[in-house]
């Protein structure tokens, strides 16, 4: 099984929990950690399940809910905030018809916010999966979403 292969790549040490969780999440077509994944990690690393849940929920890059094909992370740090991140976020919410943390019914988009993406000079910024988009406007985010939908 693929998941077991992932585990075996790492020695069963507590320190490896983040690496393992990341790989398991990547393996999932819906980009999230299932309860089974958490149990598996708990058993493999001999950690209490409560601790694994604690770690998986502490870091915002992990999700315990199924997520869309595209993960939109809008930066909410001060520079982006001053450049209109709030109305940008509202525009995306309206355009996709979802709230922060939710996924569209077609399973295409999940909307999240994030801490600083390191693109303050080009604020406001947003990350879509591993790609960063900067100097966003309400029009440009609509365009980005449309393009992703067509692809």
């Amino acid at each position: 099984m693929e998941k077991v292969k992932v585990l075996r790549k790492y020695p069963p040490k507590r320190d490896n929990i983040l690496l393992i969780l990341h790989e398991l999440q990547r393996l999932n077509p819906n980009n999230y950690l299932t309860e089974d994944d958490l149990r598996l990690v708990s058993q493999y690393l001999s950690l209490p399940i409560s601790e694994v849940v604690g770690v998986a929920t502490f870091y915002s890059l992990f999700s315990l809910k199924p997520r869309g094909k595209y993960l939109l992370r809008v930066c909410k740090s001060p520079a982006c905030h001053l450049e209109g991140a709030v109305s940008l976020l509202q525009e995306i919410k309206n355009y996709l018809g979802i709230e922060e943390g939710d996924t569209t019914d077609d399973g295409m988009f999940t909307l999240e916010t994030s801490e600083c993406l390191g693109h303050c000079a080009e604020a406001p910024a947003m990350m879509v999966n591993d790609e960063v988009f900067t100097k966003l406007s309400e029009e440009s985010v609509r365009e980005i979403i449309d393009r992703l939908r067509r692809s």
């Binding site: 958490l38 001999s46 209490p48 399940i49 409560s50 849940v53 604690g54 502490f58």
Partner: protein, 549 residues
């Protein structure tokens, strides 16, 4: 260990190296306010109430900063007080800390700090978000709205209880106390030891049964020992009028250091078998209430033919009374002798590297012994070899059935300090186990006072006689024609009434003083905390009446 000299609020003091500022200040008689700190838990530094000035840079948490030589500490400058005040204001504003509706009001460390700092308004807009409340546990209520995220519950659950059920999930203000995977006590691996409730500083975790029945000031706290099993844990019993509100573990007890189990903390308070409040005699199938004189007259008449069977749950004094009245016709109802005698004490559990637990589920029975083992096994400071140990097998990779005893022993032998822990053992297993030369053995006696039966030389025997006198709380008996069955018992259950001829009420649990001999052979006293109902015969009354028969 070396000494360290430092100044706290201008006072020159000398303390041992490795102490925290908080401990050093306590020694010097200087009080520093705390909230997340708990004496029995590792420093955590979550709440920032204990911040002090110690050298250049930011304020430091006194609970988590170690003293260094020449350190100059200030504990209550105006700046420090202001920071603490802000911390308190933030804490009060974050969740539901409207004290008047809280069960813990009057017994709350957060509220105490509020009064201490003279909080008279909300500096920040008070809470709007609603957090979950979990009522699914039979004994415990968890209200996340009253939580200050001190994590004492999770730390106690792990560090002291060894259960590792509670943790914190999410981050920041969205943090919640998490239970296993599902965030609900129901269906979790919680063993109901109640430690989390005992350490919670606010009303986030409360005892369902004791709720709204009285605060600490209205109750008397009586320190005594638990009689539910042979561990003999120290307990603090909260009594209001003639009612037990709750039972807490005694932090000062050398046996359990505050830890308790479900059997010690909750089960006796939820006892619902009907109590027997007067002697009753069955004649022609009909039960009639009789006087104690009458009851003992009947016993006196049957004395010549009677054999007594004592349960190991009874106090030493009562066992002695029957022994001296009826001598060699007194037996133990249940097994007394250990399969292998103890060579270890509870202290040996503290530094063992391997535990071999055979045939007993320490999550269900002897829970405090379970905690002592689990809190070292789960963080991988020691190994657990579980042989038919029920739910304990869930925390170890070394879980075996009896048929694999040789593999289990082989695994255990890899340890340097091995303690075998067991109660009754099936035939064949004890023989295999006792030949191990390098092991220490910790026998968990079958009942709370099995060791007293042993000391009095009372042997176990299967009841076969015609006239039987049973003494204890869990009596069941077969009956054949011509039998006469007497039971000295606290409970009149339908099953017992269907077989017995004479029932005599005795005291139960904290209704009577009595001596118990623990699994380590120590004598501990269970005190009388509540007065028994009228008609119930105390140990003293029974003893004096037995002398006269």
């Amino acid at each position: 260990m070396g000494k360290v000299r430092l100044k706290i609020d201008g006072k020159e003091i000398e303390v041992e190296e490795g102490k925290t500022i908080l401990e050093a200040a306590k020694e010097a008689g200087i009080e520093i306010p705390t909230l997340c700190y708990h004496e029995k838990l590792l420093p955590y530094g979550a709440c920032r109430m204990c911040v002090v000035e110690a050298g250049p840079g930011a304020l430091k948490p006194a609970c988590a900063t170690y003293v260094t030589d020449g350190m100059e500490v200030k504990t209550s400058t105006p700046e420090i007080q202001e920071v603490r005040m802000t911390v308190l204001q933030l804490l009060f504003g974050e969740r539901n800390h409207y004290c008047m509706y809280c069960e813990s009001s009057g017994n709350c460390e957060l509220q105490d700090l509020g009064y201490k700092f003279g909080l008279d308004h909300f500096e920040f807009p008070p809470y709007e978000d609603k957090y979950p409340v979990d009522v699914s546990h039979p004994y415990i209520l968890l209200d996340q709205n009253r939580c200050v995220l001190c994590r004492r519950c999770a730390r106690a659950c792990a560090e002291l209880g060894g259960h590792f059920v509670l943790e914190v999930k999410n981050r920041g203000y969205q943090s919640l106390i998490n239970i296993d995977l599902n965030n609900q006590f129901a269906q979790s691996s919680c063993v109901s030891c109640g430690l989390c409730v005992q350490v919670c500083p606010t009303g986030a975790l409360v005892d369902k049964r004791a709720s709204y029945l009285g605060r600490k000031e209205q109750a008397e706290v009586i320190k005594t020992n638990c009689d539910r099993c042979p561990v003999g844990c120290g307990i603090e019993v909260y009594r209001r009028a003639n009612f037990i509100l709750k039972v807490y573990g005694d932090w000062d007890s050398p046996i359990n250091q505050g830890v308790l189990c479900k059997n010690g903390r909750y089960l006796p308070l939820y006892e619902d078998r009907p109590r027997l409040n007067a002697p009753k005699l069955k004649e022609g199938g009909i039960w009639t209430q009789i006087s104690p004189e009458m009851a003992f007259k009947v016993i006196s008449e049957k004395k010549g033919a009677a054999t007594v069977f004592l349960e190991g749950s009874l106090p030493l004094e009562l066992l002695q009374a029957f022994k001296s009245a009826l001598g060699d016709r007194v037996f133990a109802l249940n097994e007394v002798n250990p399969p292998i005698p103890s060579t270890a004490t509870l202290k040996d559990l503290e530094d063992a590297d391997t535990y071999l637990v055979v045939g007993v589920d320490l999550n269900e029975r002897y829970g405090v012994v379970g905690s002592m083992i689990k809190r070292r096994v789960v963080p991988q400071n020691a190994r657990l070899i579980a042989v038919e140990a029920g739910s304990l097998s869930g925390i170890t990779d070394f879980s075996y059935e009896y048929k694999d005893i040789d593999t289990a022993l082989g695994e255990a032998r890899k340890g340097e300090k091995v303690v075998a822990v067991y109660s009754s053992l099936p035939e064949g297993i004890s023989e295999r186990l006792e030949t191990e030369s390098g092991f220490k053995y910790l026998f968990l006696p079958y009942e709370a006072n099995t060791m007293a039966l042993k000391e009095l030389g009372i042997e176990h025997k299967v009841p076969q006689e015609k006239v039987k006198i049973y003494v204890g709380e869990n009596i069941s008996s077969a009956r054949s024609p011509g039998d006469f069955i007497v039971a000295f018992t606290p409970f009149e259950t339908p099953e017992l009434k269907s077989v017995a001829d004479l029932l005599i009420p005795i005291t139960w649990y904290l209704e009577d003083e009595g001596t118990f001999i623990t699994l380590e052979g120590k004598k501990v006293v269970r005190q009388r905390v509540v007065t028994p109902a009228e008609g119930v015969l105390t140990v003293e009354e029974i003893s004096s009446r037995l002398l006269k028969i």
